[in-house]
Symmetry: C2
Subunit: 470 residues, 2 copies
């Protein structure tokens, strides 16, 4: 780690003279900016917080900091789960939330140009009002789009539509040296040199600061139907998933959930939609599946085929939610999982591992078995359609030090198992600060050194979001 300089009065004056946005210094900075949604990875206090207003001003701040060897931390809505948006070495935090304009729809090329501080929810709703859909659908709807791109956020619809990466056509970026450049173009395909755009996606604010995005949109599907599918246990639940793909039923989303987390969440939202027992069988796990299509008949055909496949593969029943209201109810519990956990948990850590889909059940069973040896509780749910699991370690009783120690041992163990299964550390939350130690361990020295080398090419002074990712 480089030896950074503190922000001096002179630097503050230089910054204030360079920007039109608000500048907060020291105690003027709201403590909300000291952490993200996973405070277990530690707090960090920026020395200065600047509201970004445009690329030129972001570039000026970055240039000043680069010249003075001061860390710069870009920050979206602070909804991250890895500590990527936390200032761990002081410095200047650039708050991108005021750059929140949807700039322009280009309906012939099916793209929309936005500032990076636009919230996912705002773009999603704006698109729908125009008959379009922005397919990426991460659980956290109030993240910024810049943050989504920085983590290559996935979400429920990744099964059918892919992750954020698949929807970024081009981006304007301020590099750590203060230059403004563009990666990619409006065009839908390209083989024009190394894909700097793809390198930026998922780089968590360590290679550049995104100041504008051109995103692909699609016509909104006309019809949507969800299915709640109860199973006796997780194994039979998960083993259904490859069958859906083999039959080319192309679901938009396939989530799995064990009964414990459904209980917890339904108590939290005060409403029960998922059956606990059917035909005298106690339900152990569920799939929640959504299909979309262009007309009711087509969708009904798909649902009919899907029901057949699901029942054949061991589902106890298939409950259809075919009105907007019923679909909303079916998804209400799933949408509140993290909130429900957070509301009832003092100490919390998470693992966002991704494994091949045919290994999900085996992996979750391994995790549940391992968890028995520790004092914390484990709550899991995840994207059955793409093998991305969210495993939460929770405790209200343990002291923090002991929790961190036990969780660290547990995480090393279960990440190791994921690696053995051909998995990766993160499906959609990223590496940030919290998962750095695992990246080094599981990507190997060769890949880690390549990543370090790339970081140095973009950021020779290591001032941009230092101590994150690698």
């Amino acid at each position: 780690m480089a030896n950074y300089n503190s922000v001096t009065e002179k630097v503050i004056e230089e910054i204030k003279a360079s920007v039109s946005g608000r500048v907060f210094v020291g105690e003027e900075i709201n403590i909300d900016f000291f952490h993200d949604e996973m405070p277990i990875y530690g707090e960090g206090q920026p020395e200065v917080l600047v509201d970004a207003t445009n690329a030129e001003e972001v570039a000026k701040i970055v240039k000043i900091c680069n010249e003075n060897l001061i860390p710069v931390i870009p920050r979206g809505a602070g909804t991250g789960l890895t500590g990527a948006g936390v200032a761990r070495h002081g410095g200047v935090m650039i708050n991108m939330q005021s750059m929140n304009k949807i700039l322009e729809y280009d309906e012939e090329n099916m793209v929309v140009k936005v500032e990076p501080g636009v919230l996912l929810n705002d773009l999603a709703e704006d698109c729908l009002s125009k008959g379009y859909m922005y397919p990426p659908d991460p659980g956290e709807k109030f993240a910024t789009l810049g943050g989504n791109v920085a983590t290559n956020a996935g979400g429920m619809r990744a099964v059918k539509y892919g992750t954020t990466r698949n929807y970024v056509r081009s981006m304007e970026v301020v590099l750590p040296t203060g230059e403004i450049t563009t990666f990619g173009a409006t065009v839908s395909k390209t083989s024009t040199g190394y894909s700097l755009k793809d390198l930026m996606i998922g780089s968590e604010g360590t290679l550049g600061i995104i100041t504008e995005l051109t995103l692909k949109i699609i016509p909104a599907p006309k019809e949507t139907i969800s299915l709640i599918v109860p199973y006796e246990d997780l194994d039979s639940c998960i083993s259904t998933v490859p069958e859906l793909f083999k039959h080319n039923l192309n679901p938009q989303a396939i989530e799995f959930m064990e009964k414990e987390i459904v209980n917890l969440s339904e108590i939290y939202i005060g409403k029960s939609t998922f059956p606990r027992e059917l035909e005298g069988i106690e339900i152990g796990a569920y799939l929640l599946i959504t299909f979309d299509g262009e007309d009711e008949d087509q969708l009904n055909d798909i649902i009919e085929q899907a029901a057949e496949v699901l029942l054949e593969a061991g589902a106890i029943d298939v409950l259809v939610a075919d009105t907007p209201n019923k679909i909303k109810e079916a998804w209400a519990a799933r949408s509140s999982f993290l909130e429900a956990i957070e509301s009832q948990t003092k100490l919390l850590d998470e693992c966002d591992v991704v494994v091949p889909i045919n290994k999900i059940a085996k992996y979750v069973n391994y995790v549940n078995e391992k968890a028995k040896g520790y004092d914390f509780e484990v709550k899991s749910f995840g994207h059955a359609g793409d093998g991305n699991l969210h495993i939460y370690t929770c405790s209200n009783e343990m002291d923090r030090e002991e929790f961190v120690k036990q969780v660290d041992e547990f995480m090393h163990d279960i990440y190791g198992k994921a690696y053995e299964f051909g998995g990766q550390i993160s499906g959609e939350h990223g590496i940030g600060f919290g998962k750095k130690v695992f990246l080094n361990k599981f990507e190997g020295d060769v890949n880690t050194e390549l990543m370090r080398g790339i970081k140095k090419v973009f950021d020779p002074n290591n001032i941009l979001n230092p101590n994150k990712v690698i």
Copy 2:
């Protein structure tokens, strides 16, 4: 450019002692290896040619060359169009064509593991025989999959299914320093550090040598129908395309072609399928569209809607090809465009530009207008669904020097116009050697320097496929 060493007797002995594949030296090397399919960019003669048999041996060769400062050029089937697979500075060429085994299907995770020398055509057929489809569908079916990944090859079906990039889950790579590593994993999504896999895709053998690929496959669509859609002129032809997207008709492929190239190709294949005149109107341009789906009824619905949209938007007629034989006939002319041009042309160069789809007609008209000022002929066709145009400059009369000079001026002009329209230099063929000068000019100094820096991180001695891309 580094000062490379020549291959000495000692190095040849070292290589021979390290590998089990055949080693050819000097005049033993077949002249086919001196060029690719675009010889206008110049020939190059490797000093040694080695048949690769496995990653370990490739690594040994690379290590020897890296230590001795000798260029290494990986080579697939030599079907490239930019000179990327040509030895411009002597050195050792590694022929990947013998590593041509389809290793393993993993049907639960819907991936197939292959060696990089497998031909696209072989994988496509093998997949179909098992009920699967490997969606990328570049025009050249006898390219290697390693080459496809190295150029991020696109093809006809990119409109619906995306390019090669979207189907690479993981790859084993020999780095220019001789280490063997893996980028990516079988999993379908990941946010695990910088995407080295995406950096490798489209890097044209300059960052590493691919020795194994894990590729995504999908269930083969059950039904396919193609439409031949004649128009009076190119403008009305191209302006239809956004309408198809707006109506969410999700075509698999949309190709446009002007009458001249259809004439040329149908003469070449000796069969006429495209009408030249309808209802007394002379046809100026055509769309060739393919839709796929899960059953006949669904597809008929789509065709009905599409026909309405197309006729509304100015098509003179919509001719349906709904049997495998008729579809094959409809595509026969399109599939032979390049071959037809090559068979009749002594001097040939091409531009593989990609522009936003609403700019295609304007761009092609600009190109045709500009071409009038030169002695060569211009023949164009392309992927109307994604804005990727193939513009060929052809001459049988000019002398080579004059041809190169005129083409150079013309290319600078039309690439400049593409840039102005928000396009990029290459949609799917890559940069290689032939387009290097344009990459520098149009990506700008900042991006070019980043690419150079990345190259240096991977290849500090600049031995791997030097003088390509950047």
